[in-house]
């Protein structure tokens, strides 16, 4: 028995019914779950930020910069899981040399570059430019250089310059919203366009992805804000959290309705694949879909937020409920990604059998790598906060 294939002999025991012989190997591992999860957070955090700039939601001002930095730090890590799961990651540059324009995946590089360079980096730069110049005046030598370089050695502190920056930010945000929609809708399209797979093949998938992205992004920034602010010895602005929770509430309801629509539509149309898909949901995804994604990830947080909205709840309890809801939502959205990516591979395309996924602990595509990839953005965020403190402006204002 070849050690390389040993796990496949193990897998054979997990198979029920008939699967094609080539389907024993599970092709897209947990890393491909992490990838849409991370991109979703990027798109969601960005859309939260744009609420401030485009829709002028004043209460959210305290988290504007934080959510931009969050989007950037998750964006930097987002392509890594994709790269790491390739059979030949050293060949990934070929996606730029000979991109196949009919392939959704080939467009990743372009969508990613556009979003990172034109939207996130530019918006952050215009937002921070004046502060960078100001900071550089009082900085110690090393930091001084970093800040000056980041400002592209700009020294323009004029009123007009600042007014232009504000205009630029607004303009970029207006471009940025459709771009964020495109970024995550596109990730959904990677799955939704596979006609061979009835679990994925749905026009609703890109839209479901998008709204779950918004949900996860808002919840993440909410969590970050509620954790970091006390650590800095500041007071959490409850109006800001309330507002975020309201948006979160709406986003979860839309997300929930879309997913229910998808579910009911499939059930009602009841096509050839319905039997195997119901088997899949009942036998393989019951916990991750029924319990974690729907019950804990949607219904419980909705009830928690609704409770706060209906009854007069004191501030401390409110914070606790929000915190709980945001954590549950993160879990739920991760489960959503899991159910899409793994669910689509757990049934045979012969529609006659189910297989299972066994998570490795170590190794390139194992549990530790996954955790590392999920934690890495927070380190980048910490670094970014160090270089580009997102609070400076507020303390100056107050």
């Amino acid at each position: 028995m070849n050690p390389v294939n040993e796990h496949l002999y193990e897998m054979l025991k997990q198979v029920s019914g008939y699967i094609y012989p080539n389907e024993v190997e599970f092709h897209w591992s947990i890393l491909i779950v992490v990838y849409p999860y991370l991109t979703g957070l990027v798109a969601g955090a960005f859309i939260l930020a744009s609420l401030v700039k485009v829709f002028k939601v004043k209460q959210l001002q305290p988290v504007y910069r934080l959510s931009m930095l969050t989007a950037l730090s998750f964006m930097i890590i987002a392509p890594l899981p994709l790269q790491l799961h390739l059979g030949h990651f050293e060949r990934s540059y070929e996606i730029f040399l000979t991109p196949n324009f009919t392939s959704a995946m080939a467009m990743f590089g372009f969508v990613y570059a556009w979003y990172l360079m034109v939207v996130i980096l530019l918006e952050i730069w215009f937002t921070y430019r004046r502060d960078l110049i100001r900071w550089a005046e009082t900085d110690k030598p090393v930091m001084k250089f970093i800040h000056r370089a980041l400002a592209l050695f700009s020294k323009d502190t004029s009123e007009e310059g600042e007014r232009f920056d504000m205009k630029a930010v607004k303009f970029i945000t207006i471009i940025g919203i459709p771009s964020a929609f495109m970024l995550h809708g596109y990730v959904g399209f990677i799955f939704g366009s596979i006609k061979a797979n009835p679990w994925w093949s749905s026009v609703l998938i890109p839209i479901v992805f998008l709204f779950s992205a918004i949900v996860s992004g808002i919840a993440l920034v909410m969590l970050l804000y509620m954790v970091v602010t006390p650590l800095r010895g500041e007071k959490i602005e409850i109006a800001c959290v309330d507002k975020m929770a309201s948006f979160l509430f709406i986003a979860v309801i839309i997300d929930f309705s879309l997913e229910m629509l998808d579910f009911i539509h499939r059930l009602y149309q009841s096509e050839e694949s319905i039997k195997i898909l119901s088997d899949l949901v009942m036998n393989r995804l019951f916990i991750s879909l029924g319990i974690i994604q729907v019950l804990l990830g949607m219904i419980v947080p909705l009830v928690l937020i609704l409770f706060i909205k209906l009854f007069r709840v004191d501030e401390e309890l409110r914070k606790l409920f929000y915190f709980l809801a945001a954590i549950l939502i993160q879990m739920g959205i991760f489960a959503t990604r899991w159910n899409v990516v793994m669910g689509g591979q757990m049934f045979s395309k012969s529609f006659r059998g189910l297989t299972a996924y066994k998570l490795e602990i170590g190794g390139m595509e194992g549990l530790f790598m996954t955790l590392a990839l999920l934690i890495a953005p927070f380190f980048i965020l910490a670094l970014l906060i160090k270089i580009l403190p997102p609070w400076e402006q507020q303390s100056a204002q107050s």
Binding site: N2, V4, N5, L8, Y18, I19, Y20, P21, N22, E23, V24, E25, H27, W28, L82, H85, L86, G87, H88, F89, E90, R91, S92, E94, I95, L97, T98, P99, N100, T102, S103, A104, M105, A106, F108, I190, S193, I194, K195, A196, N197, G344, Q345, S348, K349, S350, F351, R352, G363, M364
Partner: protein, 246 residues
């Protein structure tokens, strides 16, 4: 082990530029007067003739150097048993382990048969559509090939194939599949599976030729393809195909 792999991959990256450019030069070499634009290949499968001996599976692995483990197949044979209570049991026969295995008593069977499967060499191949680097493509003579030197191993094509005809070759870490034995057919030989099939359940030929066993096959039988609703337009066609086969 991990680290060595990493190192190896790094080295490949360094040498890749050089290697690829030499390949590009080699590409100009002659192909022995074979003109791909004059051919267009297809296969016919007569389900009623298959005896499920598995010779085709063995020959394919032998001819193409496919790993012997039972997870990598360019072609395989399925056994269908439709029971009197309408339950359908499918097994993929493994020529090395279970040749006869009879899990259903004969008096419970309504009908039973074998179905050979392989890459359908679709005219509208979903795998080609999704490959991000264009490493899998359709040749002028209608065969779907994979460039093992440029495949990045993303496995999108494996997900996109409705027939489960692709696998990730564990040796090269690239997508792999049936080539209709391209090295044989371009020399006028039959694919290995067709060559060894004892009952002529598989008929290979040139769709463009006016008289050939494949032409006769197409004239004689009512034909069907797998999963026609997906509009992949397979060039592997089946005679006597049962509706339960997917």
């Amino acid at each position: 082990m991990e680290r060595r792999n990493f190192f190896k991959k790094g080295m490949t990256l360094l040498t890749q530029l050089g290697v690829l450019s030499t390949f590009a030069k080699k590409a100009k070499a002659e192909t022995n007067g074979y003109d791909p634009s004059k051919h267009y290949y297809g296969m016919g499968i007569q389900v009623n003739k298959c005896i499920g001996c598995g010779k085709c599976m063995e020959a394919c692995k032998e001819e193409n150097g496919v790993p012997k483990e039972p997870f990598y197949f360019r072609t395989w044979v399925e056994r269908y048993i439709i029971k009197k209570d309408a339950e359908v049991i499918v097994q993929s026969i493994d020529p090395r382990i279970d040749r006869i295995g009879n899990s259903v008593p004969e008096n419970e069977m309504m009908r039973s048969f074998f179905v050979p499967k392989l890459c359908n060499h679709c005219d509208h191949p979903p795998c080609v559509q999704v490959c991000p680097v264009g490493a899998t493509f359709k040749t002028d003579d209608g065969v779907i090939l994979v460039d093992s030197d440029r495949c990045i191993g993303c496995r999108y094509c494996i997900q996109a194939c409705p027939y489960g005809a692709r696998y990730l070759n564990p040796v090269t870490s690239t997508a792999d599949k049936c080539t209709f034995c391209y090295h044989r057919i371009t020399k006028g030989m039959l694919p290995a599976c067709v060559e060894v099939c004892p009952t002529q359940a598989r008929i290979f030929g040139d769709i463009k030729s006016t008289a050939s066993p494949l032409t006769r096959f197409k004239r004689m039988f009512k034909l069907h393809v797998l999963k026609p609703s997906l509009n992949t337009d397979p060039k592997v066609q089946y005679a006597d195909l049962d509706g339960e086969v997917r």
